[in-house]
């Protein structure tokens, strides 16, 4: 089950990274960054 969960997290991270580079507004880029940090920590099973 953990692997399926991690796969879902990877998909979200990939989508957000694409969004980060496509986004024009800096505020939205910062928002995306704030969401990415806990997601990546969770993907690595750190927090």
């Amino acid at each position: 089950m953990t692997y399926i969960y991690q796969l879902i997290v990877i998909l979200f991270i990939a989508y957000l990274v694409i969004m980060l580079f496509r986004e024009k507004k800096i505020q939205n880029q910062i928002n995306i960054s704030l969401v990415l940090i806990p997601l990546i920590l969770r993907l690595l099973m750190i927090k």
Binding site: L20, E23, K24, I26, I30, I37, I40, L44, M45, K47
Partner: protein, 371 residues
């Protein structure tokens, strides 16, 4: 390169830096804290020795066994059921580093919910640990979470259904003191509870003492909660504590509140199950900043004001409730519960040595009794 691409690259570098620094910080909680057992230690076991299902899991934990030369009764002392109640864990570490047993057997678990020592409760702003000056220098001890690490056990259900059928909020599924007697095929927390229940059955533990702390605004505080089978032992212990000037209330374990050690271990095994609570301002809702100082000194101005206003269930003045006082209460409570057991079980006594008195811990500080 376009302006938004440059900012994306800069933010990516920041994200990676934050993940590396916080990752190192969070992972540091996985490290073991050294314990220096006394010469009285006869054996070190693992909880997985009693329940194979815990082997190589984050729930497997050390059991320190002290056996006297003479046969007698046996006791299990549980510390660290809730790692955000630090006097519980620290009392058991102090026991492991000082205890000698003349008669009977003593089993001590310092990190009953080992997984809960590997993280903090989110949004509580708690430090990862605290320092205490000891005879050999400054030592570090962990301050963990009330519940099992969600990395080790997830997801939480919306409703946690205990094996008795009792329904609790979903997050309680990771609370060891709502998981007894445990389930062989359950969650990690239930497996830990099952391991402890198996240990009690296999070793014929006569007395089980679970050490806890509570917020000063919580009604069950400076109290000894007892299963009805152990009420004689607990009552005698309370009387002895009162004679020594240590205020301790006697609370009966509610029969319809399931999952708690003092209820289920008493119901499902032959042990006399008791639980002790001291006042811990670092876990209360009225506290100010949760700092190492608050954990160690137990002083908090907001609690002082709440105490003056009569909103608390313990006296709270400018002296607070330092960790030395809380450990002293636990240590003295354990001694009196064992003495009381001995009175009712002549010939099957448990005779302990090396535990400092209440006055000694208060006047010299807990650090004097740690290596």
């Amino acid at each position: 390169m376009k302006k938004n691409k440059i900012s994306a690259v800069v933010l990516t570098i920041i994200i990676i830096s934050v993940i590396i620094t916080t990752g190192i910080e969070f992972n540091s909680m996985q490290e073991e804290i050294p314990i220096y057992p006394s010469e009285g230690l006869t054996e070190k076991k693992q909880l997985s020795d009693y329940f194979e299902g815990l082997k190589d899991t984050p729930g497997d934990t050390e059991i320190y066994v002290f056996e006297g030369e003479e046969e007698g009764g046996s006791t299990l002392i549980l510390g660290g059921t809730h790692p955000n109640e630090p006097a519980s864990n620290l009392t058991t570490i102090m026991l492991v580093e000082n205890l000698k047993v003349d008669k009977g057997r003593v089993f001590v678990i310092t990190e009953s919910n080992k997984s809960a020592f590997t993280h903090n409760d989110p949004q509580e702003g708690s430090p990862h640990g605290y320092h205490i000056e000891t005879t050999s220098g400054e030592r570090y001890f962990k301050y963990g979470s009330r519940a099992t690490n969600p990395i080790h056990q997830w997801p939480d259900p919306d409703v946690y259904i205990h094996s008795s059928g009792q329904k609790l909020s979903g997050s309680e599924t990771r609370n060891l003191n709502r998981a007894y007697p445990g389930r062989e095929d359950g969650t990690l927390t239930e497996k830990v509870a099952f391991g402890i229940t198996s240990l009690i059955k296999e070793e014929n533990i006569d007395v089980t003492i679970d050490l806890h702390e509570a917020s000063p605004e919580y009604p069950v505080i400076n109290a000894l909660v007892t299963h009805e089978k152990a009420s004689d032992i607990a009552s005698m212990a309370i009387i002895e504590l009162q004679f020594q000037g240590i205020q301790m209330a006697l609370e009966a374990s509610p029969k319809n509140l399931h999952g708690l050690s003092h209820r289920e271990l008493g119901d499902f095994t032959d042990t006399y199950a008791m639980l002790m609570e001291t006042a811990n301002p670092s876990q209360g809702r009225l506290r100010g900043a949760t700092t190492e100082e608050l954990i160690v000194t137990g002083k908090d101005k907001i609690y002082e004001k709440a105490g003056e206003a009569g909103f608390l269930f313990v006296e709270f003045d400018e002296n607070g409730h330092p960790i030395s006082e809380r450990v002293a209460r636990h240590a003295t409570g354990i001694k009196e519960m064992i003495n009381s057991f001995n009175m009712f079980n002549m010939g099957n006594e448990i005779i302990l040595k090396g535990i400092p008195s209440y006055e000694e811990i208060i006047s010299n500080g807990i650090g004097s009794y740690l290596e």
